[in-house]
Structures are given as C-alpha cells and as structure tokens.
Symmetry: C2
Subunit: 200 residues, 2 copies
Amino acid sequence: MMEIEFYFDIASTYSYLASTQIDALGERVGVPVRWRPFLLGGVIKATGNRTPIEVPAKARYMLMDLKDWADLYGIAINFPAKFPPNALPVQRVLTAVAMQSEDRVRPLAQALFKAYWVDRQDISDLGVLAHLIDAAGFPSVELLARAQDQEVKDRLRQTTDEAVQRGAFGAPTFFVGKRMFWGNDRLPLLERYLEANKTR
Amino acid sequence: MMEIEFYFDIASTYSYLASTQIDALGERVGVPVRWRPFLLGGVIKATGNRTPIEVPAKARYMLMDLKDWADLYGIAINFPAKFPPNALPVQRVLTAVAMQSEDRVRPLAQALFKAYWVDRQDISDLGVLAHLIDAAGFPSVELLARAQDQEVKDRLRQTTDEAVQRGAFGAPTFFVGKRMFWGNDRLPLLERYLEANKTR
C-alpha cells in the first residue's frame, strides 16, 4: 500500500511548516502519512549540504519567508529564542516512541513542534523537554531514560543514514516509495504526484 | 507605480522556470514586470552562497524537480549539454539591450532561455549566441560589440551589486519595492502579496 514517509526534525523550520499541512494532504489524496524522526544535522553533515542560516542573506530572507508561509497556512510562528538547538535529545525521544508505536509519534511531535516554533520553549533543555513530554500525555521519565539506550541511539542514526542513502540532503523530506520530494514548498508537487499515481 | 522586478540569469535553471510564468502572474494582478538581467555567479560569490549543483544529492534531486515543475507548467525542459555555461556574454548582451530599451529585454531573454533550456544550444559559444540573437530579430553584430563596452560591463556589475545590496543571494529574485521573494517556488507567495498590497 502506498504511503507518504515524512522525515522531519523538530529543529527544522520548514519541517514545522510542513508538519501543519502533511496530514490534511494525506487525507485529501487518501494516502496514510508515516512520521519519521531523523536528525537533520546528520543529514547535512553526510551530504556536504549547509543550513540556510550559514548564508547571512539567506537567513535574513528566511525570517520573512516564514511569516509568509505561516500567514498562508493560517498558523502561528515565533522564531525560537535559541536557534539552532541541540536536537539530539528530542529526536531520540521521538525515535523511542516510534520503536514502541509509530502511530504515537505524530501527537508528540506536533506538541513539540508547537512548543518550539510557537511557544519558543528551549527543547534542548532536558527539564523543559520533560515538562513538554508530560504535558503532551507521554511518560517523560521513561522516555528520557529510553532515549539514552544504545538501541534508540542506533535506530536514530540508522533512520538518518537510510534517508541519506535514499537521496535526502535536507528537511523535511518526503518519500513515496523511491520518489523523493524535498521541502515544505514541494507539498503541492507531492500532492500532484499522489493524485496522478495512487492506486484507484 | 507598483512593479515587479524580475532579476534573472539565462544560466539559472529556476530563472527559466519562472520566466515562463512571471508575465502571466503580472497580468493577473495588473502589475507590470520589469525584466532585469544580472549575473548569478556574481551574486553567489558576493553572498557566500553556493549553487545547488555543488551538493551532489541536491543536484540529483534537481533533475527530477525540474521535470515536476515543467510538467506542472506544461512547458518543455531539456537539461543543457553544457552546464553551468559561461553566462557573462549573454548577460552582457541583455544588459546592452536593457540600456537601449528595457522593454526589448523580455523577447530576447525568452528566446535565449528557450535556446538554452529547451533546444540545448551552447549560449557560451559566441558564434551560437550570434545566430540566436539574429534569429530572435536582434542585431547580433552590434549587440556583441556593445557587450564589450566598459559601460555595459559596468552596468551589469552595478545591477548585480545592487541586487545583492537589496538582499538577493540567488536567482530568480523578485522585488516589489523593498519586499523580496526568492525562487520560482515563491511565485504563489509573490502573487498573494501583490493581491493584498496592490493599489486599487
């Protein structure tokens, strides 16, 4: 069965934007969405890519661009006080959840995206992160302990490496089988592809 | 009066895509489009940005992405045999035209975009370029001579520097006064901005 794999990192600006749209897109075309936490920093490093903020003019433009997208989508966005954050703990927590029940990734990720990109919470701070996990109805003590397990660390690395091997070089990245789409701004192209290729 | 400034380089993939859409966009919102040839290489150098093809995974994705956009727009695209080309001669020729009559830039640029991005002509070859200029109904001998004038060389450099000073870091770049939009993929945001802000 066809599915949309949504590779995301809570620390990724355009992953946040896409996270607010991808489920509605999946519903419109009748294709399920699989939320896959990976580590953008690992992808950037593996591919020799750079983040937009490494080019000052691009970083300045990004702030305006984000507001345009937020306005278009009718969502809130408040640029984080601490950026980029250390996303390793939060992506490991999401990986721990994925290993137990992949369907549970979505609600926790959505709560964490909002905490970071709307409420400007510092998700790299483990105390703050614990509070956010609890507030989202997940067991913070258990998850933060699990996030330290070698098995979870390895899984996050595997997921990231696998995305790179499939062609990813940034976030968000979407896959439909072997077909890849990169970026929040490619959601219309992803939807068009699914409309044309979904099994009827 | 409000206008859209369209900064483009014939050698820029996404400038070609945008060039096929920008005039229709301007007509829909009732805002004139000013075609402004600049030098993408100069912008990249001045801002510390890099072209997509410097990241191998991104370059691979770009080939697929281009086909998606061409399909969406209903236009042809055939990746050039020689890429990137030396765009200096062609951008100087367009600058020479702009200095004589800015309205004449559009038809020559459209002919050159098509020659490079559809017919795979080598626009860095001066003989090929002369033929293309003639075929588009422009005087190739005069324009290629003008392109060597210091005044024309300086003007292209000024236009490029000015775009960088205004915030540009890539191509295509659109300005509406101080407001900047970067990329073919931001055309919907540009149109939305114009709809909301044009004088009624």
